[in-house]
Symmetry: D2
Subunit: 357 residues, 4 copies
């Protein structure tokens, strides 16, 4: 008999349901006697004991559905360690609910923040298995996260749509792509969408180089230029600032986001009409793409296998085309970033794409 | 022998190429001896004599392509009547290029602004046939414009994507939809996307009613609410302002767009987390949907037929499911808007959708 | 207090759920006291008393879902009038279940066959309101049916996919499109997909004319030709046969479907490599397109309004861009077909598309 | 100065243009003096000297286009070695055209057959660089081929569409997926589409086991079952036949394809209504998905780099997430197949998917 708790935490993304379905199908199919509980709205549900029992029917028809049927919420790591407004010790509360339900383990789906808390629970003695969810693909210990490829598709669609208008009107267009502090999403969507300039956080840009590229294209007869800009893109000058200086600068920041700053600078120096498009939250929504459905199902089934074997304390990740188990302590608190020397970056440069560096 | 000039003017949209292909296929297929010229970047090409000859090969493979292969530009009506920076009389220049090429007629594809200029050229003695292009569906004299249904699809996709995140996180989400001063696009995408509240320019909203609806949904257990807000949505209070007062107000407007103002007010009064997504220019780009391809092809072929018969001075439009010719003087300068009493509005209200009125 | 039964009958299609949601939202939102019952698997559920109560929750999240959550089945008209294998009088059984549940009316969603039975029930004294469901768009009394536009999209996608291969390999490709005995679906998908030849049941083809068109294209340098062929396409020779003669012929028919016969004849006479693709049932599945979602929601809400007013005996249809009620006796037993003189056919011919006539 | 010839051979697929664009962008961008020639319709163009010069403009706008702008054709390996109907030695002819144009190398895009011929040309002394194109992903020496992921998407779409109909009607549905003699495409589309049974050539099926699974689902209340069947699926009995015996059997084969045989057997033994859908050639057409665009662009750019360095005789492949060069002699004549012990197969089984084994 296994008693399993499950929760999804952090920003939602595509294939969360597919991954949970993978875990559940594997465990229900194994013939093992099992009770499964879903905690609602991420760690909140675990803290305050909001849960419901899950049966095979809950996982029927969810493979293709975006979002998470358990609901999610963001709870920064610090906050988890602080008592709530009624003085409740959250970590203690989570442990109590875990023990009250006599759980054998928790299945936790989430990104970087989620993994810090999951590792904390592990150090507190709870059995935990996690799954790498994020459109940013910035989780340490795995080559890939689910949600990423679906988000690449949506961001690429946006660039494709902008392409026809840019070409018709001869304008400069910026499409701002999600990804927090890492550039995987922008890099892939940018190459897939045929962007001429790609700006990512890991390769700070020089606005002069960006403008040079636009001017060069114009000289060569290309009347339009498309930039894929990561929401976390940063200029060389800003990258040199200390954290404090940067915070100070951002206090009086007059742009809705970095793309608007870049647009303003290009417009100012070239006189070109520059437009910004921000697909925003659409990038984390909608039905997961087939790649993510397969990937999340595979990860989920392997997580189920670990649970059946009683192997806890791991994130189920992906390395060199195999599903692997990665010790949680290796994952938590680290960020996977695009290396400026990665072959995909070099290949993009071979294609003539400028990174503004 | 027919000598035909063609141009696309104003913001680009889906199916411009499909419509031009329709005209060209019809005329080339007729066996009539023909010379066809494409003016580049809208009226600019006609003013400055930038054109190239078009052959059947130019129209091959363009049915599914977004944008316009002739390029486009916006030239407000007033500007057309004013001399350029070198003192050139633009209207006179257009006439001269028309006569120099000994054109039998001009085929002009565009929206409201474009039609004003097209009608001006008609009154100046040029032969003109026009085609109704706009994602806004706001052209007088036709039930439908091409681009509209494709834009509905993209805006609906955006709402669909947001839906899964809204449901997972229990947030209020606003999706801002294009459409200038009319609400067709928002209304249709809103119904298709299952929006709970739809705000369009033709039905000024009362922010209290909007908030009431959100609170009512929360009481009934729906943790999220989705608003489809037209970029031209206006509050009842603002709708009562004179043009001058409104302009004055907008001078100090601190929001990037009306959706952000609405978001701020909801957040302020309810404390709910409100997010805004603006798909923006993506709504006018990308491959035309099958509906638009069929529709634009049909309009184009009928325009070709008119030209072959030498019937000029018309927009080719759509009324009661038939392609019709509409005298240009009836079209120019008028705006088609959503009637607050339209059956589609009433039906949306029957479904429980609030318009904030 | 209203007691309403609902069922979906015949082949499923997109937007069935959206239409039912429209009815339900309208009625639940009206504040009227209501009990709603869903009969499972079409008329079968009504005959054998298989039903379940429906609450607002049943209609949540179904707007974008294909298929029908009530299930469906085909029961030919004749069969309905015949006793079942246990001697049960089906019509009588349906009446008894209707009266047992003290229903005020039945909401029936279906196509041609379904409407015959719905009308029968009306003549037997039951209150009936129907909604026009079919990808074929062949229902009398309405300009449009839901499912149609979604099916056009899928069939067009198939042609688009085939297009790139046809162009790369210089082959003749046939895409066989659904539609039973009518050609709307093929006609629209054919125009949207840029087909060179469109064969529909309403315009019998001459295989020589079809081959002539292919040869003409080859002479003009087009190395490939795409045919959109309705599953009900018929040759001029076959169209002249009596029903009996045709049946006799089809007994020994050696082809899987008409497209394969046409392919064989083209290949035989020209030596060209001809490939057939049959998207088949995919055309009736998947998420409804935004057009269908809006359309089905509107029809549903108007059906709800009729029920609230107690107006029965109607199909809710669409005429000249308005939702209208059409007496059931006018609808049942009639087929709406493409007129060979319809303007859309003429326009397709203007574009150079051959109908093989 | 580099003189480069390029050709695409075998069945077309998505991202061929993207891959050629990658090669061309890399080389044109390098500043190297270059002349590029495109041979039309695969090896045919090289044999008969049909080619045209390629400039950067030829590669503009092709990133998102399906098919191959050079055209393609299939020429089985044996045929290449045999003289043509005029007695022309094809291999000699290819060499002569290569030398006549004083080419430095040939860039050849294709699948298994293509690679045999490419390797032959290499042994004949020509410089060759190849790129792995096939929706089947069956090329030795690379973890992935371009076209594969796009085809997975289309096949999955088909299963998704069928899903709603299967669920509504409670039927058994078979979707026949491409892939020749290997099962990657079926396996991935099957998992992504939530198929209950997946039959691939590498794991011969026992029809009894297939039927058992269907019956088991029925017992558990699932009224429908979906099978993803590879076009090359084979029964255990057939797998034991010698090549000769199998050929003999297929001579009198009365089914259009294996799926129809399986359908007939299920129907016969269970009485269930079984429907077959064959998306066919649509799986290789249409716009490449973002994954394939990125992948093909990367491969292309690395091929360009090899050429610039004068490293010939390689296929540019993908191993453990890095682009690598693989000696052509290692690639030619070998087939990469799904191992029945592959982890993805085991994971699919953990999910409860039956392989009929």
């Amino acid at each position: 008999m296994k008693r399993i708790g499950m929760l999804t935490s952090g920003g939602d993304c595509q294939a969360l349901n597919a991954a949970m379905r993978g875990v559940a199908k594997c465990i229900f199919h194994s013939g093992e006697d099992v009770e499964m509980y879903g905690f609602l709205e991420g760690y909140k549900g675990l803290i305050y004991g909001n849960f419901r029992m899950l049966t095979p029917a809950d996982f029927s028809g969810v493979l293709t559905k975006g979002g998470t049927f358990l609901g999610s919420s963001r709870t920064p790591f610090k906050q988890i360690r602080e008592p709530d407004e009624n003085g409740l010790d959250k970590v203690e509360a989570m442990k109590q609910n875990y023990y009250k339900l006599r759980l054998d383990c928790l299945v936790i789906l989430g990104g970087n923040g989620t993994h810090k808390t999951a590792n904390l629970l592990r150090t507190e003695g709870l059995n935990v298995v996690t799954l790498p969810k994020t459109i940013d693909n910035d989780l340490w210990g795995t080559d890939m996260t689910f949600g990423f490829q679906s988000a690449v598709n949506i961001a690429t669609d946006a660039i494709d749509c902008i392409h026809t208008t840019a070409a018709s009107h001869g304008r400069v267009f910026i499409v701002e792509v999600m990804g927090h502090k890492v550039g995987y999403l922008t890099l892939n969507a940018g190459i897939a969408g045929g962007a001429d300039i790609i700006l990512i956080p890991e390769i700070p840009y020089d606005i002069k180089k960006v403008i040079d590229k636009i001017e060069e294209r114009n000289k060569n007869g290309s009347k339009f230029t498309i930039l894929a800009v990561a929401e976390g893109a940063i200029s060389k000058a800003d990258a040199k600032l200390s954290k404090k200086e940067y915070k100070e600068k951002m206090k009086n920041y007059k742009y809705p986001s970095v793309s608007y700053e870049i647009a303003a600078k290009i417009q100012e120096k070239t006189g070109y009409d520059v437009r910004v498009t921000v697909p925003g939250h659409t990038q984390r929504g909608g039905s997961p793409c087939p790649y993510d459905r397969v990937f999340a199902s595979r990860l989920g089934s392997e997580a189920g296998k670990l649970i059946l074997k009683g192997e806890y304390g791991f994130m189920v990740g992906y390395k060199n085309r195999e599903i692997v188990k990665v010790p949680l302590e290796e994952v938590a608190g680290k960020l996977k970033m695009v290396s400026p020397d990665a072959s995909i970056v070099k290949e993009a440069k071979l294609l003539g794409i400028s990174f503004g560096d």
